[in-house]
Each structure stands twice: as structure tokens, then as C-alpha cells.
């Protein structure tokens, strides 16, 4: 095998912020005082926070050094299944930070915010076109808040029909956010087992769907990377009993230009802009979780809605059936700007995005399935799920494989999810990785499979190259230290 891309270099130790600095320093250019000091009631005045005083260079070095301990998409391949860590185009950052956008107050009068309102209006239109669900809200701040919005719509819809319902069906392969979001809306989450091929069986849904069930939440493609090919029949069953179908669009990146989600029978769908539409994940967020619905459900969308008439764009609050508001203002607009830039840069080329994402995943699947156990051996969509079954014979577990990948210069895949697969290794390469990079990754995985046989302890002791070795998560949880 060629030289590994993972290596070591000079990085720095760096203390915590408050272990640095000296009182009286400052890292900020303070405006000069041009008015007199106003007296303040002593009862209300405090001492101010105990922040360290640092110079500008202190701050710059601190965060530069910290950043060097991190791995991002810009560092290397990040095949974190279900999280879609594709390249985040640099031009999107430029656009979102244009002074007009960055300095716009959310309560400006409509005539001073036309540029952003038109951007949001057009983005709604594009997302409606891509999904096939024409009515769109951009307000949810992340995918899980999109799910919450969807469940609020389920709840409001059934109340409006005069008969509130108490349950929601959720497949066992679902992300944990699905049952958590349903519960937050007062629904009881009822698990549906997937069939032997890893997809939902209509008869399982038929058996559980009744007139007290508000509907079903389906992730399609599902978290095994498989297309739920019974979705039409499932939707028909749910609709016949008066229920609604929620689509978790976390994996929409696999089917753009291929599947019309509205035609499939989905009534409500959320998108994760940081997955499908290339916005950066920033080490935790912000995301953005627009929700697309059928015309029938449009009256229930959050307010305000961006509307257009002959005078231009404006915000409309007058939707009496609306579920209300999930964000103080209009959602994570800075993220919307990035996704809009991405869509304008790609146009109908978004279909190729899905095609290449699926090609890359199937390529990895085919080239690793002789060495890693593939629980569902069928064509996958944008991600493939292996297990550690063969490596377990050498007492090597998924965790060891994941940690060893770091030494080879790759971010590990998602591990131990979905929960229905024991020792799952969920690989999502995304369309932005080239064949050469995929080949390097495949070589590394194959080498690790050999190491599992030859030197299991080498894997147990990995990773060796990062700044830190494996961390003691048990003592962190037993005796939590959450601040300094």
C-alpha cells in the first residue's frame, strides 16, 4: 500500500482561555467615550463577569492552535453516515457575509428588506420544486426543529378535523430525533419493525395504523441507506385511515431529480440544509430545517410567510390555522443564503449530485463487502452499512476500526447506528469525494481488516497519531466537570 495520508506534524499545547492573559489587556477596539457616564441604581449594578483579559494575538493564537486539533471536511474525507459531510463551497461564505445581509435587522420594514425577502421567496420555490411539495417554510432552525414543526402540523391538522389523535408510527431504523419530536408534541411514539430486507412492510403498517394514529414518520432513503420501496403502499394505508405521512428528508441528497416526494404520498417533509445543500456544520450547527408540505397543509405552516404581490415581497401573519412560530424571527437566514447560493451554482446539476453520491456509496460497498459483513446485500443509495461481524472473531470491534481509521487520515464513519444493526459501520462518502480519495479510503479499510487478523492489539491501541488517545468517557460522565 502507498504511504498513508495520516501523519504527524508540529502542533501546540494550549491552555484554557482563563489560564492565559493578564488583567488590563484587551483584544478589542473599543469606541471612544463621547457621552457622560449615567448613574445606575447600586442595587442593580453587578461586578461584571470574570472573563480573562487577553490581547488580540493571544486570542488569535489560542483559536488557531485549537483548530489544529480538529478534523474537518477541508482536512480530509469525512464519511460520517447520515450526516452528509460534503464539501462546503467557499463562495457561499462570501455571499452570506455580504455587509447588506450580515447587517440586516429582522424587523426592518419590507421596503428595506426586499433583497432578502426575494431570496427567501425564491428559495422556497426551489425547495418546493426539488421535493415536489410546493408549500415551504424556512423557519425551523435545524432538522429536528423541522420535525417538531411537522408534528405540530400533524397535531393542528387533526384538531382542525375535530378529532385529535394520540399516536405516531415510527420505524425502528429512525433517527432518535423522530420519536423525541413526536413526544414533544404529545404523541406516543409507536415503533414499527422493518422487514427482513431492511425496509418497511405494508402489512406491519396496516396492523398498527388505526383511527387514533396521527400518521407515520418515514426516513427515505432510510438510515440503512435503502430506498423504502413500499412507500406508496404505506402512504395509501395511512391516508385511508385519515393519517398523514411525514418524510424525514435527512437523506434527500440521494434522490434529487429522481424522486418526487409529493407524488410518493408524503404530506410533510423536512430538509437538512447542512446535509443536502452543502452548508457547513460548524462543529455542531447551525443547521436549517425547512419544511415542505402539500397545498392542503399550507394553512398550517408557521408564520410569518414570505409572500409576493404586485408591490413586491412582504411578510404575512394572517394564517389563522398556522401552528404559530418556532423561531423568534425567520430561522437561520445566514444558512438559507448559503443553500440558495449552492442551488444557484448547481441548477439542475443537483441530479448529478444524487447520482454521484449513490455511485460513490455503491463503489465502496462493492469493494469492501468481501472483507466486511454487509447485513443487507442489495444496491444502496447514498450510504452503505457494514458490521464488525467478521472482525469480532479477532475481538476487534467497530469502535477499534473507527479509531484506527484516524491514523490513516480519515474521519471515522458513523458507528453503532442504526440501532437495528449490531456493530454498525455506516459509510457515506458524498458526491464531492473523487475516485482517488475513495480508493485511498478503501485501501485503508482493507488494511485495517488485515490488521484485525494480524494484530488486534494494534487496533485496540489506536488511534496513535492524533493529539490525544482514547478518552475516558466513563469518568467524564460519573463525575461531570462541565466548566472551569
Amino acid at each position: 500500500m502507498k504511504e498513508k495520508i495520516g501523519t504527524t506534524g508540529l502542533i501546540f499545547n494550549e491552555p484554557l482561555l482563563w489560564e492565559k492573559g493578564s488583567p488590563g489587556r484587551t483584544g478589542i477596539s473599543l469606541p471612544r467615550r463621547d457621552v457622560e457616564e449615567a448613574p445606575l441604581d447600586e442595587k442593580l449594578a453587578g461586578e461584571g463577569p470574570d472573563f480573562p483579559d487577553l490581547s488580540e494575538l493571544d486570542v488569535v493564537r489560542h483559536f488557531t492552535r485549537l483548530s489544529q486539533w480538529n478534523f474537518g471536511v477541508d482536512s480530509g474525507m469525512y464519511p460520517l453516515g447520515s450526516c452528509t459531510m460534503k464539501y462546503n463551497p467557499k463562495t457561499n461564505e462570501r455571499q452570506a457575509s455580504l455587509p447588506g445581509f450580515a447587517g440586516a435587522h429582522p424587523l426592518l420594514p419590507a421596503k428595506l428588506s426586499q433583497g432578502l425577502l426575494s431570496l427567501m421567496y425564491d428559495l422556497q420555490g426551489y425547495l418546493g420544486e426539488i421535493t415536489g411539495l410546493p408549500a415551504v417554510t424556512l423557519q425551523p432552525a435545524a432538522g429536528s426543529q423541522g420535525e417538531l414543526t411537522g408534528m405540530l402540523i400533524f397535531s393542528a391538522y387533526h384538531r382542525h378535523k375535530g378529532k385529535p389523535r394520540s399516536k405516531v408510527l415510527i420505524p425502528d431504523t429512525a433517527h432518535g430525533t423522530n420519536p423525541a419530536s413526536a413526544t414533544l408534541c404529545g404523541f406516543k411514539a409507536v415503533a414499527v419493525n422493518s422487514g427482513p430486507d431492511g425496509v418497511l412492510l405494508p402489512e406491519s403498517v396496516e396492523a398498527l395504523m388505526d383511527d387514533d394514529t396521527a400518521g407515520i414518520m418515514v426516513t427515505n432513503p432510510n438510515t440503512l441507506g435503502l430506498f423504502e420501496d413500499n412507500i406508496r403502499r404505506v402512504a395509501d394505508i395511512v391516508h385511508r385511515k385519515g393519517g398523514l405521512v411525514y418524510g424525514d428528508g435527512a437523506n434527500m441528497n440521494a434522490v434529487m431529480g429522481i424522486v418526487d416526494i409529493g407524488d410518493v404520498g408524503v404530506d410533510v417533509l423536512h430538509l437538512n440544509l447542512h446535509k443536502t445543500f452543502s452548508t457547513p456544520h460548524g462543529g455542531g450547527g447551525p443547521g436549517s430545517g425547512p419544511v415542505c408540505v402539500t397545498r392542503q397543509l399550507e394553512p398550517f405552516l408557521p408564520v410569518p410567510r414570505v409572500v409576493r404581490d404586485k408591490d413586491g415581497y412582504s411578510l404575512d401573519e394572517d394564517y389563522p390555522l398556522s401552528v404559530g412560530k418556532v423561531h423568534a424571527f425567520f430561522g437561520n437566514v445566514g444558512i438559507l443564503i448559503r443553500a440558495y447560493s449552492y442551488i444557484l451554482s448547481m441548477g439542475a446539476g443537483l441530479k448529478q449530485v444524487s447520482q454521484y453520491a449513490v455511485l460513490n456509496a455503491n463503489y465502496i460497498k462493492e469493494r469492501l463487502k468481501d472483507l466486511y459483513h454487509l447485513p443487507y446485500d442489495r444496491p444502496c443509495m447514498h450510504e452503505c452499512v457494514f458490521t464488525d461481524k467478521h472482525q469480532q472473531e479477532h475481538h476487534v470491534a467497530t469502535l477499534d476500526i473507527a479509531k484506527r481509521l484516524m491514523d490513516y487520515g480519515f474521519h471515522p464513519p458513523t458507528i453503532y447506528f442504526p440501532l437495528v444493526v449490531s456493530g454498525a459501520i455506516m459509510i457515506e462518502p458524498t458526491e464531492t469525494e473523487s475516485k482517488e480519495t475513495l480508493d485511498q479510503f478503501i485501501d485503508a479499510m482493507r488494511q485495517i481488516a488485515r490488521e484485525a487478523g494480524n494484530c488486534p492489539d494494534c487496533l485496540h491501541a489506536s488511534p496513535q497519531l492524533p493529539k490525544l488517545q482514547r478518552l475516558d468517557e466513563a469518568s467524564a460522565a460519573r463525575h461531570p466537570c462541565l466548566g472551569g
Binding site: 466513563a474 460522565a477 460519573r478
Partner: protein
């Protein structure tokens, strides 16, 4: 995780399908989780136990046990009133891993139905279940 043959199951305890054990301790009975359960969960980091004096029925949740990445509910093997909880676990949850049948015990109860204990599994029956 260990092989079943490497795990320890005392003869003088009775067992449930949910992997709790029960031992008579004078007038009261002691309850904890089995060596198999702690091994499956991995490093235990937190144990939540009921208030002394609570009355619980067989099958009720009496607490939860957490490892770093899993949560498991604890179910009453028989009905009864909680007479003591193992407060040491608050600071030393790892005792459930190291000594599941001794210092890692969880609660003591005054059983409402002492005969109910006999309906639980013996060591041989429990092992039979684990081996499937």
C-alpha cells in the same frame, strides 16, 4: 463483552427476564442487576433509584441505570415497599460493574408477596434463557 461462561451467577439468587436478581436478606429482599446485564451495558456511570417508602408493583419501573451510551430501566421483580436504597452508588456507580451482587446492590424492599419470589427463575433457568 464476555462469554456467558465467564460470567458469575450466584446459586442463592433468583432472576428475572429483564436481568434483575433478587436475594433474601433477613426480612427484606435485595435487588440488583446481573453480571450479564452490567457486562452488556458496559461502564455504569449513573444509577437513579426510587425514594425510600415508595410502594411499587411487580413490573413497575423502580429506577434507571446508565452507561456512557445506553440507558436501561429497572423493573420490580415482585411487588413491595422500598425500605432502603444503596446510596453508595450515587458516588460509585462503578460498583455495579465490579460487584453486581454485593456492594453493587440497588434497593431493598419489604415484599408484598413473598411467595412471588419463587416464581422467578433459578440460576439454571436464567442461564438457559441467556443461552437461548
Amino acid at each position: 463483552m464476555k462469554q456467558i461462561s465467564e460470567l458469575n451467577f450466584p446459586e442463592d439468587a433468583r432472576y428475572t427476564d429483564d436481568h434483575e436478581w433478587v436475594k433474601e436478606n433477613g426480612d427484606v429482599i435485595r435487588i440488583g442487576i446481573t453480571d450479564y446485564a452490567q457486562d452488556q451495558l458496559g461502564d455504569i456511570v449513573f444509577v437513579e433509584l426510587p425514594e425510600v417508602g415508595s410502594s411499587l408493583s411487580k413490573g413497575d419501573v423502580f429506577g434507571t441505570v446508565e452507561s456512557v451510551k445506553a440507558v436501561s430501566e429497572l423493573y420490580m421483580p415482585v411487588s413491595g415497599e422500598v425500605s432502603a436504597v444503596n446510596e453508595t452508588l450515587e458516588d460509585h456507580p462503578e460498583l455495579v460493574n465490579t460487584e453486581p451482587y454485593e456492594s453493587g446492590w440497588m434497593i431493598e424492599i419489604n415484599p408484598g408477596d413473598p411467595a412471588g419470589i419463587n416464581a422467578l427463575k433459578s440460576k439454571a433457568e436464567y442461564l438457559g434463557m441467556l443461552k437461548g
